[in-house]
């Protein structure tokens, strides 16, 4: 019982991050039919940017690699999250203008290469600024293990899960209830028609990339106290988030969230059996799902007329 509960706790914590990143892929895909393949770099940079803000708020004394827990205390962490959201959101806009817009709607896959390239440039710049060493980021809620019915969780894991759920519920509400959400869905349905209806299509697309970037950056800041801030971990998380999005259905935000959580739980569950088989099982299952449902479990059936 405690064993299964532990798997559930561990799976939901990492699944929350996957879901958040899956959602960030979905947002740009539904509005522009493009994705940022450099999303992993945004996660890493979000974590380091957050660490830098916390370090500055704390006073910039002591070791940057191992900040004391006071650095995240009080309003510091929410402030850092806001700063990261704004900054990485701005990078998202830049990414759209530089690496997506010139190629969107044109035949070929130039935007795939250009977003990958944008990510590599960002990562190389980040390496020049922060160096290769991982940085420890203290959790705002402390680091003591909380025990629930024999299973242990850390406060940050609960925070990750809670923040992911709140962000996702909020976005879901915005998408379905507000005029902005309607505009986004209209652009997703057909940019030319949306444009005729008086919707500023470019602004909506810019907004989608800003939001997608902000989610990745905040995801990085959330996961950093669990995994350490590192410029190299984002890639793996982005790949899992992308897999979650594909399994759930890229064009269905709720499906993406489901896919992310499912992947997290599956990983923790397989590790209980044979950890070295985890990647094999996870990706074999993804291929299986796609062969049965090519648009993901909850994706809309789309027909390309030739």
């Amino acid at each position: 019982m405690a064993t299964l509960l532990q798997v559930l706790a561990s799976g939901l914590a990492i699944g929350g991050i996957y879901a958040l990143i899956a959602l960030s892929f979905s947002i740009t895909f539904t509005t522009t039919k493009t994705l940022n393949f450099g999303q992993g770099e945004l996660i890493g940079i979000g974590a380091f940017l957050g660490a830098t803000v916390l370090f500055a708020l704390f006073g910039g004394t002591g070791s940057f690699e191992a900040m004391p827990s006071e650095a995240s205390a009080g309003f510091n962490y929410p402030l850092a999250a806001t700063a990261v959201g704004v900054a990485i959101g701005a990078i998202g806009i830049l990414l759209f203008l530089v690496a997506v817009r010139p190629f969107a709607g044109k035949p070929g896959m130039s935007w795939v290469m250009s977003t990958i390239g944008f990510g590599i440039i960002l990562q190389s710049l980040a390496l020049a600024v922060w160096g290769p060493a991982p940085v420890n980021l203290p959790s705002p809620l402390g680091d003591d293990v909380i025990r629930v019915l024999g299973a242990g969780v850390r406060p940050q894991e609960i925070l990750v899960l809670a923040a992911a759920v709140v962000i996702m519920l909020g976005l879901d509400l915005v998408m379905r209830r507000s005029r902005l959400g309607k505009a986004m869905r209209a652009v997703a349905f057909s940019p030319p028609v949306a444009s005729l209806m008086g919707i500023n299509v470019t602004a909506v697309m810019l907004g989608a990339f800003a939001l997608s970037g902000a989610l990745a950056g905040i995801g990085g800041l959330l996961v950093a106290p669990i995994a350490q801030a590192s410029l190299f971990v984002g890639m793996g998380i982005a790949l899992k988030g992308f897999s979650g999005a594909i399994v759930g259905g890229l064009d269905n935000p709720r499906g993406c969230i489901f896919g992310g959580f499912a992947l997290g739980l599956l990983e923790a569950g397989v590790a209980l059996w044979q950890a070295q088989w985890r990647e094999i099982v996870v990706f074999a299952l993804i291929i299986l799902v796609l062969s049965v449902r090519p648009n993901g479990l909850f994706g809309a059936r789309s027909l390309d007329k030739v």
């Binding site: 064993t3 532990q6 798997v7 561990s10 914590a13 990492i14 992993g40 690699e65 191992a66 990958i116 390239g117 590599i120 390496l127 160096g131 290769p132 060493a133 991982p134 940085v135 420890n136 680091d143 293990v145 025990r147 299973a151 242990g152 969780v153 850390r154 996961v223 669990i226 995994a227 350490q228 590192s230 190299f232 971990v233 890639m235 793996g236 790949l239 899992k240 923790a268 569950g269 590790a271 209980l272 950890a275 070295q276 985890r278 990647e279």
Partner: protein, 412 residues
């Protein structure tokens, strides 16, 4: 996951480097012709990661040690009346780049010896090159056992090492497990990378040689943050002593997961636990719960202290000090070989290294015939020092078991 991701990176990075190399080629040719004019210099090379992976700091420290040795040697008038220079090539931890650097250093720069690389995998990717081109390599950093293994039984071997050797480390760890009265049920934990699985293979072979039968064998990914599932299986198998082979950060995550489920078997780690990244990941209290081996003790000799004072301000991180020492000693052993051979010719240097006549008082230890034709390891299991973290610092560790270990216990 990480494998796929890394593969993607390396291909993309490769494209970038090919472009950069093409753009720089004319400039490089100019440099080479300019260098020919100063042939009075003896050129040494360094090839290894200095910027791209978490191990980069080890590479930086080794370069610092080599450069310090060259300062000293040049201060005494150089070797064979010629000044020494170090040509540094960063391989960004990528095997293709590392191979390319090797050819560049040997063929274009005409270096007489190469130090490096930082990553074991890169050494295994190019160790045939120095053997074919007959230029000695002394490795001050990477620890994979196979790096110094000759291509075939009687072949001339140009790969030498002044650093930790995984096999020697495993032999000492298993000797501890064998002698410890509290280690009745042993479990292995390893990372699924080449480093982790190479160590696991050594652990299994040495365990068999010493008559230890592990009751659990679990693996985890290098970027995993939660090993509770694997640890629950160790607990179910009633493991009382776990030996972990992984990089610094994941060893820290193992301890954090142990904390989560409240299960603390005796934890014995590979030397990656001396890395600051381990300490940062585990946190101060948990970091003290494992013991491991290092090449240099924290009970420093006056000579070691003097060297530390000299390089401390330039060390990328305090825990990388050992690599600066390896680099310094490796360069000094090479200097002895050059003097003994009276030449910088590759085959003569190799022979001189294998037959160094007089004992050399190095920073780490006194090297008495450090290499032979069949043994290219300057450091052995007996040279390793037990260490642990205490109050945020690395300190020497000793208990009844470590004190009772005899040279005869180091089997396998």
């Amino acid at each position: 996951m990480s494998k796929i991701a890394q593969h993607g990176v390396s291909r993309r990075r490769l494209a970038k480097h090919v472009l950069a190399a093409a753009a720089l080629a004319p400039a490089a040719r100019l440099l080479v012709s300019g260098a020919a004019a100063q042939s009075a210099e003896i050129k040494l090379g360094f090839n290894g990661d200095l910027a791209a992976s978490p191990s980069a700091q080890s590479g930086q420290a080794a370069v610092l040690g080599i450069q310090t040795a060259l300062e000293d040697l040049n201060g005494q008038g150089g070797l064979l009346g010629r000044r020494l220079t170090l040509v540094i090539r960063d391989d960004l931890s990528q095997p293709p780049k590392s191979i390319q650097n090797m050819s560049d250093l040997i063929d274009n720069e005409k270096v007489v010896t190469v130090f490096g690389p930082t990553n074991s995998g890169n050494a295994l990717a190019w160790r045939h090159i120095p053997n074919q081109k007959r230029v000695p390599v002394i490795n001050p950093i990477s620890s994979a056992t196979d790096i110094t293994r000759p291509a075939s039984a009687n072949a001339d071997n140009y790969m030498f090492r002044v650093s930790m050797v995984d096999r020697a480390q495993v032999v000492a760890l298993m000797a501890y497990v064998k002698k410890s009265p509290n280690a009745r049920r042993v479990g292995f934990l390893s990372e699924t990378t080449g480093y982790g699985q190479g160590g696991l293979r050594d652990m299994q072979e040495v365990a068999t040689a010493q008559g230890i039968a592990p009751v659990a064998n679990e693996k985890f990914g290098v970027n995993d943050t939660d090993m509770t599932s694997q640890l629950q299986k160790l607990r179910a198998a009633e493991v009382d002593t776990a030996v972990v082979w992984a990089q610094g950060t994941p060893i820290g995550q193992v301890l954090r997961s142990m904390d989560k489920i409240g299960y603390f078997p005796t934890l014995i780690s590979c030397w990656a636990a001396d890395n600051q990244s381990f300490f940062n990941a585990a946190g101060q209290q948990l970091a003290e719960r494992t013991i491991f081996l290092r090449t240099i003790s924290e009970d420093r000799t006056p000579r070691q202290q003097q060297f530390l004072d000299r390089v401390q301000s330039r060390l990328p991180t305090a825990s990388a000090f050992s690599f600066a020492v390896h680099g310094y000693d490796a360069a000094m052993l090479l200097a002895m070989a050059v003097r003994q051979a009276g030449s910088t010719d590759g085959p003569k240097l190799r022979e001189a290294l294998e037959t160094l006549g007089t004992p050399h008082e190095g920073i780490l230890k006194t090297y008495d015939r450090p290499f032979s034709r069949t043994d290219h390891e300057a450091l052995e299991a007996e040279d390793l020092r037990w260490t642990r973290w205490r109050d945020g610092r690395l300190v020497a560790y000793a208990d009844e078991v470590t004190r009772s270990l005899q040279p005869g216990d180091f089997k396998g």
